[in-house]
């Protein structure tokens, strides 16, 4: 088990964004987190990456309780994420963006940088070549020198994935990676996520594109109004009456509508 979420809750004042949500993710699988807008999916990401601390409950990563750890230490432990609304470093080139991602896997400080020690130069070389490999991996081979701001939308999404991969994560969290993509881009994304899985990286995916989720995920958990209403394989989820109700509304509601 890579990640275990045990009865995690998060309240914002009187509003309960998540209540007693539990699930666990196995090594090497692609786990989907779905649910209507406002169900608490991104809040769950923010709990796992420690952007928020849970109001109650535990989050366990590789046997370690990671509650309340600083976000940069979570990344160092091997969890890295992308953002729903792309958050690249806009004025940096694609290559620099990915190089920033390798921050926690490198260690040169002020003095070795200023005096350009041998180990610093070697590290810099290593970081740069790995960044270029990753750009190649996500299909941005020719764009190393392009300022990330001026990349196309779908390319920015893939660059964000490359940047997250640069931190050598064991668990990769993707927050709606297919949002705003056309069909070609989505199918390229499907291939990419499969390739990431083949590298032995576990993936936790939030996504609204249901055909993609059903094709891609090994298992899925469904959130609605901050509660988990179902968990299982894509086939089980598709036939779960609670899930259908959450997405389509119940017949009674329809009568009043």
């Amino acid at each position: 088990m890579v990640l275990q979420v045990k009865k995690a809750s998060k309240n914002f004042g009187g509003l309960s964004a998540l209540s007693d949500v539990s699930f666990s993710i196995n090594q090497g699988e692609i786990f989907g987190l779905i649910g209507p807008n406002g169900a608490g999916k991104t809040t769950m990401f923010n709990l796992i990456t420690s952007m928020f601390t849970p109001s109650s409950g535990e989050i366990i990563f590789n046997e370690d309780n990671i509650n309340g750890l600083k976000p940069h230490l979570i990344t160092k432990k091997g969890i890295c994420r992308t953002f729903q609304n792309i958050r690249l470093f806009p004025q940096m080139t694609a290559e620099e963006n990915v190089m920033v991602g390798e921050h926690c896997r490198s260690k040169s400080g002020v003095f070795s940088s200023v005096f350009r020690t041998k180990s610093q130069r070697q590290e810099e070389e290593r970081i740069r070549s790995k960044a270029n490999e990753l750009l190649e991996f996500v299909g941005l081979g020719g764009f190393a020198e392009t300022v990330s701001d001026s990349l196309a939308y779908g390319q920015q999404r893939r660059l964000e994935i490359a940047r997250a991969l640069a931190s050598s994560p064991k668990l990769l969290l993707l927050d709606e990676p297919a949002a705003g993509m056309n069909e070609t881009e989505t199918s390229e994304l499907f291939q990419l996520i499969k390739k990431i899985q083949e590298q032995g990286i576990t993936v936790l995916l939030i996504e609204h594109d249901m055909p993609l989720v059903m094709k891609l995920c090994d298992r899925i958990a469904v959130l609605n109004f901050g509660k988990k209403i179902a968990e299982g394989t894509p086939a089980e989820i598709q036939n779960n009456p609670d899930v259908i109700e959450a997405y389509l509304g119940s017949e009674e509601e329809d009568m009043y509508a």
Partner: protein, 325 residues
């Protein structure tokens, strides 16, 4: 022939330009993590007073005084940097401005130590001390065909030039490294930087402390170049002046504040009649820059343009630009 070219007045102006450039670099460093600090005049004062008092009261060598002043300013940088981590933008500017005022008020009121508003005079002069030391070894400026006075100012200028170039080189190298990328990432998107594994607390305090160290260093040099300091030298006006270097020149690249400091120190000297109105002009500059060119005069695009126009640089960069095409 050399003797006629060396005019102490010009050398003095050039020395102040260099000190202002160092101050410009100090605000640039904190700004490169997105923190706007107006405390640098205060740090400068700490550096200046510490070094002046140590050399005046304990007869310590100037270099020891300068080091102590720089380090103490750095310590204050850490002390101010940590509690203000949560503040951003205008709020940080206000708090740091307040800190500068507190420091100034302490200089004014701690009369037994600082002689209050009158200031400290008779601070060992860097150039003269150097000359005296050299004379002990039998050196006479006349060997170089220079008057004592000319030698003193020339020595100061050359020392400051070396120091300034070293500081700029230091931070240019730092910028193009893992540390520089972390600074830039924090400036561009703090949350994303944190998610990418960057310890933002460490790097923000580091930038703050580096800014304080450099400002304290500039202050200590200032004390030993002018030989006289008073609290008014480190008041609100100084804080605004340092800010103007970055606003006018730009804070995207290190050359921005360097150019700003150079231009805005030369201008009042060249146009004597303007210097009366300099703070009015500073105000105008801020307003005009905000409206027309918020990134300052020198930005990345200008630098790239300059590089393209410089033939030698073009060859050096030719391979990489061809590759990207």
């Amino acid at each position: 022939m050399l003797a006629e070219l060396i005019n102490p007045y010009y050398l003095q102006v050039a020395s102040f330009i260099l000190i202002n450039i160092i101050l410009g670099v100090s605000i640039y460093i904190t700004l490169s993590t997105g923190q706007l600090s107006l405390a640098n005049a205060g740090f400068m004062g700490i550096g200046a007073y510490t070094s002046a008092l140590l050399t005046l009261n304990f007869d310590l060598p100037i270099i020891v005084g300068i080091l102590a002043g720089t380090l103490l300013a750095g310590v204050f940088g850490i002390l101010i940097g940590i509690p203000t981590l949560r503040l951003q933008g205008v709020y940080l500017a206000i708090v740091t401005l307040g800190f500068g005022e507190v420091i100034r008020v302490i200089f004014v009121n701690w009369e037994s130590m600082t002689k209050g508003a009158v200031g400290l005079s008779g601070i060992p002069h860097m150039g003269r001390e150097l000359l005296n030391t050299l004379k002990d070894f039998g050196f006479d400026p006349k060997i170089l065909g220079l008057q004592n006075n000319q030698f003193v100012f020339l020595a100061i200028f050359l020392i400051l030039l070396g120091v300034t170039i070293s500081i700029i080189t230091f931070f240019r190298r730092q910028n193009r490294s893992r540390v520089g990328r972390a600074f830039a990432a924090i400036k561009l998107d703090e949350k994303a930087a944190e998610s990418m594994g960057i310890n933002i607390t460490y790097y923000k305090v580091l930038a703050f402390a580096q800014g304080a160290l450099v400002a304290g260093f500039a202050g200590a040099l200032f004390a030993h170049v002018l030989a006289y300091i008073s609290p008014a030298d480190f008041a609100y006006h100084r804080a605004v002046e340092i800010l103007i270097f970055a606003v006018f020149g730009g804070s995207e690249v290190i050359w921005g504040p360097v150019f700003g400091a150079l231009f805005l120190t030369v201008m009042p000297e060249v146009l004597r009649f303007i210097s009366e109105y300099r703070y009015m002009i500073y105000g105008l500059i801020i307003i005009i820059m905000m409206a027309v060119r918020p990134q300052g005069l020198i930005d990345v695009n200008i630098l790239n343009w300059v590089k393209l126009k410089t033939p030698k640089r073009r060859q050096k960069h030719g391979t990489s630009s061809q590759k990207s095409i």
